[in-house]
Symmetry: C2
Subunit: 327 residues, 2 copies
């Protein structure tokens, strides 16, 4: 295992300390590192809280800040955060207008956020994201997995919350975005969980996992490494088949690296995915290319298309000031 | 070799097409992909042009835009761009106030930018960056290598150019920033140049290359993998020894990933480097953590400290709107 590391046990805390120090103008850490929260809260605004296992950075802590999340709860690596983390975050950021939990569809996350919602004193609502079209159920999920599309839900709902939209309407908006947002991923290599010290799964030198999950969960099939064009075509067409877009639909196209894939390759995938989307009648009018929802050091990437209307796109365009997204 | 790729020969052009399409609001491609330039130029401003071999993305094309570069010339992977690329870029972006070339200290780059300067019709000046403290000469450089600190020079000089500073003063400012900016890197794995199809150099399973260059050039020594703390300590202390900072100096601390290292590990390095810098009497008052000056898919990172005065920090803080840096 070749990583920058002191001990696997201390990695997360040390990394969070570095993250909070590097972005002290935007955010701060909660007690015992239970959560990351905005430094400055907006009175009367619905508070948005997300969270999940670590190892997917910058998701979710990198999306805490003006225009996006109010707090994020980092679990141990690939492990759900606990309800007491969510409760502590809710108490720290609640501003009287309720709490909206944004939860990726994994059993542990869903269960723990449900427990937190029951225990919370504030009024809460939840959005469960499940944008991954690769498989219908998976190792850690009943139903589809929530993957990179989650960042689009968090951005759009975050902007709407900033404009003073109420809890119920925000939940409806988030669910609508989730339904119009679809993703699929591919792994060229495994990732290595530090505490395990060896690759999470085995992939041959000429193999890839098509439809992989963000913890290395099996996808649709393990096949021979193909050209970037063929990979982008299979993933983009699977997404288009699922979305069934009207011709001329406008979309956000997100090419998301899994942590070990450089920008040069991600932009090549963007080039391919864009042409295939356009061939399928979808026009990418907004673009995001980078490593945003990762799987530790995995080489691989996912493609996300999110078909939004004009109002929804204006939320995407609204100012955001977080560690990982800023405009 | 596991990469998103159609053919090694087409990778750069396809990736640049994707890059230009994804960031069409900011930039466009020159004829035959000779350069990337800002979509909108500022009349009367000194034009800033950089460039170098590809494989270091987002450097330099990712820094083209308001507040930073006017154009960047991408060479083939790890290969200097040619003088005709630089001449074409200069003709496209010159606005009557002269051209400033920002060049990393590699023999091919320096020679070709010199030829371009001689052939250019506009008045030109050059800044050669050589921030790498690891070795005094290297495979492709006489004198120190120019590495991640180059982005700090490009940002500061870019902001100054935007404020209307003239060519000679910009060159002096860039040289001053370069002298106060020092870096050192470490590789945990090699990178693989697509056309070669195999790792650039061999590193044992328990080895790292301390002081590596951004093309995988040898560093100071090849040693056993050490803790993140020990790695950060060796690199940060080497930088501090070279800078000889006055106690209480204020600095930018940049932790730069080489392409295959995820954010979780980079923030851990930040945590370590920050404490060591503070112990050495330097206060990191600005921070940047991410993969900005990469070596294809290499796992590894560099640390940069840049000791700036108040005016220089205000240039760092000034607005920037590029593909890779935006605030």
């Amino acid at each position: 295992m070749k990583k920058f590391l002191n001990t696997p046990q201390s990695l997360l805390d040390e990394s969070l300390n570095g993250f909070a120090a590097a972005h002290a103008d935007i955010l701060c850490l909660g007690e015992e590192h239970k959560f990351v929260r905005r430094r400055t809260l907006t009175p009367g605004k619905v508070a948005l809280i997300s969270g999940g296992g670590s190892g997917h950075e910058p998701l979710h802590a990198g999306f805490v800040g003006e225009g996006m999340l109010d707090a994020a709860c980092p679990g141990q690596i690939f492990t759900s955060p606990t309800p007491d983390q969510m409760i502590a975050a809710a108490e720290a950021v609640h501003q009287g207008a309720g709490i909206l939990f944004i939860v990726k569809n994994y059993e542990g996350d869903v269960m723990n956020f449900e427990m937190a919602a029951e225990m919370a004193e504030a009024k809460t609502a939840s959005i469960i994201t499940d944008d991954d079209v690769a498989v219908e159920t998976s190792t850690y999920s009943t139903g589809r997995r929530g993957v990179a599309g989650t960042l689009i839900v968090e951005k759009v709902v975050g902007a709407a919350a900033e404009r003073g939209i109420a809890l119920g309407a925000l939940q409806a908006l988030g669910n609508a975005i989730n339904r119009r947002t679809r993703s699929m991923g591919v792994a060229l290599t495994s990732c290595t969980v530090p505490a395990a010290g060896k690759p999470n799964f085995a992939l041959g030198e000429d193999e890839m996992e098509m439809g992989v999950g963000i913890h290395g969960e099996p996808g649709r099939r393990r096949v021979k490494l193909a050209s970037a064009h063929a990979i982008a075509e299979e993933m983009t067409k699977a997404i288009l088949a699922d979305l069934g877009p009207a011709r001329g639909s406008e979309a956000i196209l997100l090419i998301n690296g899994f942590g070990g894939t450089p920008a040069l390759e991600l932009y090549l995938l963007y080039h391919e995915a864009r042409r295939i989307a356009e061939g399928g009648g979808v026009k990418p009018v907004r673009s995001l290319v980078g490593s945003y929802v990762t799987s530790l050091d995995m080489a691989g990437a996912s493609i996300t298309l999110s078909i939004l209307d004009e109002d929804q796109l204006s939320y995407w365009d609204a100012p955001v000031h977080t560690a990982a997204l800023r405009w």
